[in-house]
């Protein structure tokens, strides 16, 4: 009767653990799919479409026809470089002609003048008009000659969703109506023109069309992705996705730890029953079939309940996010989240419980007569570990689709899972050896922890794993996002002042200083184009990366800096020095990768018609999202000084000071102002969104941790009751009983807290260093939270358990 009751209890815990796993997967899949859609839309805004193709030739009408058959909206644009005259000086511009559907994703924002109010618009310039960006702000209200046609510059573009590249590295934008393009006569055979076809529609339709496109695309035509979007936005979106991936993996680890602990407990409870059945001649195969049926029934029920719970739990997050962003999360109409959850439940249940149950079916029938002390064989341990690893790996691959982050997280988790029992066992043994003279109370406590029959070391390891996962989510949530936010604090420069003439630098600095406006160090800029790498013409080099072709036609702003700029890091080579016969240049890491540049390579560039030669002295990582002046190329001062330069600086200009900007522009007419506050606000919104969603996963993780705790308490309950009963029979007082239980749990909590903090610190460092490019700072909070929460939770649990255990009659020891 007792066995039956215990078995039902054991299955019940395993059932709850499975329900939690399935509901976590359902909920996280639904939520991440929905947040993913939101992020995709944000990403689409960066392309102004869901998908686009680009070519230097006009596209066949087949593309448009097929896209329309697939139910997609289509828009086209033509971009080209041209020149306009500003105050009789020729100025290079980036002209873009768009049709009425532009942009398919995101919205244009315009203003009447530089300091005027911004308006979101769904319009494009009317025929005969153009819109210009802030670099040409002075032209608003005047007329502009483009080729053979004159246009009225009617508005200022303050936000263009698909404007790629680094902020101040771009030629001024002139946006016109596509229907006016032919009249300018600018597009003639041989012109360097970029044609774009943009598509948008339902995800499934876009997916179908993309497959068609990949089959039918012609040479010279290219499908564009986020790589060409603004680096600040792209990095923010990519990092957010990584945060989510990590949070899901860690939450799942917790849920699976719960299944593992409860499966072990179930197996222990089943052993006497199996011994009895085997003594009666029931074969191992029959027993295995019996348990498979039990597991199957448990999985089906847990899946149904888990999916229902998961479905409901997506709503609290939706309410929170809706409230925060004023936008509803997009709906997901797919069975995939539910099927994934069911499959993960099956994998976790089978991976963690089958080896234990197979083991249980091998319980020797002799156990029915007496306890057979059977130390765990290597083979048995190996089969359990291998099965668990395969299950975790399969789940991660299913959910993360071979993401490197998921694999790395798995490696970390496995390392923890393998090392923790060894470390905890070693620690307990070390403490045991330190004193032999007295047994009660410390040695008694440690003996209890060491006794394999109670599985305390495994429970502690399981709970440590859970706590490590929770701490890592907390680290990601607080430390990493916090660090990210500090990289993007309030009050950083929101304007770039570019095209400053050398003779105006001092005057502009003084102008800003007089008005209390904070400004950065001015940077000298020389515009240069890459011509040769190691004396080979760039157009003759066959680059592996297709993006290289764009980079070699790009005009770069080469600057000089005495010291490595803030939040730049040398990843190879040495910072600039004057000790070389050739000038030196430091290259941004991404550009170096695209152009396959290495330290020591010789670059030849053209500044107008003059050559500029330099040797690559270092390769640098750049934190693009910090909105500071960031550069692809930084060279020696002498090199820059030998060419005509303009200057750049960034400044924090409050709304109240914006009136002074007009004065500045009047006094220094060559200066162009770039307002980046809108872009900064968008990146900040992504960070905030990530933070709120992670909070939700944190709550889920805590809920699973409670189940692990219950399982942990349940696991040793029977043994604890018998031990209490024995201590009672040996005349222990209730005070002694209380003390032993509370201290045992406190000791467990302290050990768990200590090791969890240590592992979480190492794992947090590894993740921030290798996956998030965020500087890791040792957090005292992680140690405090870990030690205090584990000790407190376990001693409270111990107190609650002791209430029951200390009331156990000493007669139990006679009856057991």
């Amino acid at each position: 009767m007792k066995v039956k009751r215990a078995t039902i209890h054991a299955y019940w815990l395993m059932f709850i653990a499975s329900v939690i796993t399935v509901s976590i997967v359902t909920s996280s899949q639904l939520i991440t799919d929905r947040i993913g859609l939101l992020l995709d839309r944000q990403a689409s805004e960066l392309l102004a479409a869901d998908l686009l193709i680009e070519s230097s030739n006009e596209f066949s009408s087949d593309y448009r026809a097929q896209a329309q058959r697939d139910g997609l909206q289509v828009s086209q644009s033509v971009s080209l470089r041209s020149a306009i005259f500003v105050d009789d000086n020729p100025s290079l511009i980036a002209l873009k002609a768009v049709d009425a559907n532009y942009p398919l994703r995101g919205k244009l924002e315009t203003a009447g003048e530089m300091t005027g109010d911004r308006q979101v618009t769904t319009e494009i310039p009317a025929r005969g008009e153009v819109w210009v960006d802030s670099k040409l702000a002075s032209l608003v209200g005047s007329r502009l000659q483009l080729g053979e046609q004159s246009f009225a510059a009617s508005r200022l573009i303050t936000y263009e969703p698909d404007r790629g590249g680094a902020i101040f590295n771009l030629a001024p934008r002139v946006l016109m109506n596509h229907e006016d393009l032919a009249s300018t006569g600018l597009v003639v055979p041989g012109s360097r023109v970029k044609y774009r076809l943009m598509f948008a529609g339902a995800a499934a339709d876009v997916g179908r069309f993309k497959i068609w496109l990949m089959i039918n695309i012609k040479p010279g035509e290219e499908i564009q992705d986020l790589e060409n979007a603004r680096p600040e936005m792209r990095r923010a979106l990519e990092r957010t996705r990584k945060f989510f991936a990590l949070a899901i993996v860690l939450t799942l680890v917790i849920a699976m730890a719960a299944i593992a602990i409860t499966a072990r407990y179930t197996a222990t409870q089943e052993a006497p029953k199996v011994a009895m059945l085997r003594a009666f001649g029931i074969s191992q195969i029959s027993l295995l079939k019996y348990y498979l049926r039990q597991l199957g029934a448990l999985w089906v029920t847990a899946t149904l309940v888990g999916i229902a719970i998961g479905w409901f739990t997506q709503f609290p997050l939706q309410w929170v996010l809706d409230g925060w962003f004023g936008k509803a999360l997009p709906q997901v109409n797919s069975l995939r989240p539910y099927l994934t959850a069911a499959l993960v439940g099956l994998l976790a249940l089978a991976g963690f419980s089958l080896p234990y149950l197979v083991n249980v079916t091998a319980t020797p029938p002799m156990q029915v007569l007496r306890t057979v002390v059977n130390s765990r064989s290597w083979l048995r341990g190996l089969s359990i570990s291998a099965s668990a690893i395969i299950a975790v790996f399969a789940v991660l691959m299913l959910l993360m689709q071979s993401s490197l982050l998921a694999v790395a997280t798995l490696a970390l988790v496995l390392a923890c899972a393998l090392i923790l029992p060894l470390l905890l066992g070693w620690m307990v043994r070390a403490l045991l050896v330190s004193s032999q003279r007295r047994f009660w109370l410390r040695q008694y406590l440690l003996s209890r922890l060491r006794a394999t029959s109670r599985g305390a070391i495994y429970v502690m390891s399981g709970f440590s794993l859970v706590l490590i996962a929770i701490l890592l989510i907390a680290v990601v949530k607080d430390e990493l996002i916090g660090e990210w936010q500090t990289q993007l604090p309030e009050g950083i420069p929101n304007y770039f002042l570019i095209n400053i003439r050398s003779e105006d630098v001092g005057g502009i600095e003084a102008f800003l200083r007089q008005r209390g406006i904070e400004a950065s160090t001015p940077y000298a800029l020389v515009r240069a184009r890459m011509t040769q790498i190691n004396a080979v013409d760039v157009d003759k080099i066959d680059f592996r990366d297709p993006r290289a072709a764009h980079s070699v036609t790009h005009t770069f702003n080469v600057t000089h800096a005495e010291e490595l700029p803030d939040q730049n890091q040398i990843v190879a080579g040495e910072w600039l020095s004057d000790n070389d016969d050739l000038a030196q240049v430091s290259v941004e890491q991404g550009l170096a990768e695209r152009l396959e540049l290495e330290v020591g390579d010789r670059l030849t560039m053209a500044v107008g018609s003059q050559p500029l030669e330099a040797r690559v002295s270092s390769i640098r990582s750049v934190l693009w999202e910090n909105f500071k002046p960031n550069f692809y190329l930084i060279a020696n001062a002498e090199l820059i000084e030998s060419f005509p330069q303009t200057w750049l600086l960034s400044a924090l200009i409050a709304d109240s000071d914006k009136a002074d900007l007009k004065q500045l522009l009047q006094r220094y007419p060559s200066v162009t102002l770039l307002d980046i506050s809108e872009l900064m606000a968008r990146v900040r919104a992504i960070v905030d969104r990530a933070s709120v969603a992670l909070q939700f996963f944190f709550l889920f993780a805590l809920a699973s941790a409670v189940i692990v705790l219950l399982a942990a308490i349940q696991t040793g309950r029977h043994e604890r009751e018998v031990e209490s009963s024995l201590l009672r029979a040996l005349s222990a007082s209730s005070g002694q009983l209380y003390r032993v239980h509370i201290l045992e749990y406190t000791l467990m909590g302290a050990l768990i807290g200590f090791f969890s903090a240590a592992f979480a610190t190492v794992a947090g460092w590894a993740l921030s260093e290798y996956f998030f490019d965020i500087e890791f700072q040792l957090s005292a909070r992680v140690w405090i939270y870990s030690l205090v929460s584990a000790t407190l939770v376990f001693s409270l649990a111990g107190t609650l358990v002791s209430r029951r255990v200390y009331n156990v009659s000493p007669m139990k020891v006679l009856r057991s």
Binding site: V373, R438, F439, R728, A729, L730, S731, S809, P810, V813
Partner: protein, 227 residues
Amino acid sequence: MAENNLCIALNQVAKTVDTPEGKLDILDNISLQVEYQEAVVIKGASGSGKTTLLGLMAGLDQASSGDILLLGHNLMQKNEEQRAAIRSGQVGFVFQSFHLVQGASAVQNVMLPLELSGIGDAQARALASLQQVGLESRRDTLVEHLSGGEQQRVAIARAYATRPRILFADEPTGNLDATTGRQIADLMFALRDQSGTTLVLVTHETELLERGDRQILIESGRLVSDG
């Protein structure tokens, strides 16, 4: 029988428990007396109530009615905490399933009741007790690594370490083979002879039954014979 020589006295003791089917009488109207240094053996069929009787005599459980005197204390007026204090240092136990603390060594197991009772020099006394049962060479071995017979020896050493006035044993040879069982029985009675401890044991084993000074037969919760 002199009143002051009584180690245990039961007067019209009954034990009733609640079951889903209603009240169930486990023991009914039991009266018996055990003198100091006596060796009393309780026998009976399975389910007859002999383990319950042992538990009541040792103060491990509370009777439903009647009076129980243990070492001069009326257990019916004591709660579990007070009964534990009476047992402390004066009562020893040997169980069928040994009930040793897993993860602890032989000597640590023997030290446990000594330290719980606040008896000084626990280690030296535990070692002496282990020597008496012939296990001094296994003092630091974890109990789960000992054989069944050795484990029961540790349990006996633990029971005698506090030099109790009474030793209660519940089927002490029940989990052992015949030869080991005989050795354990020899050991228990040898130690009892040395120490003069009162012995109350429940058993089916003929060997043990014959060694007792008295045999008490319990059938269906009633005392059938005593002598």
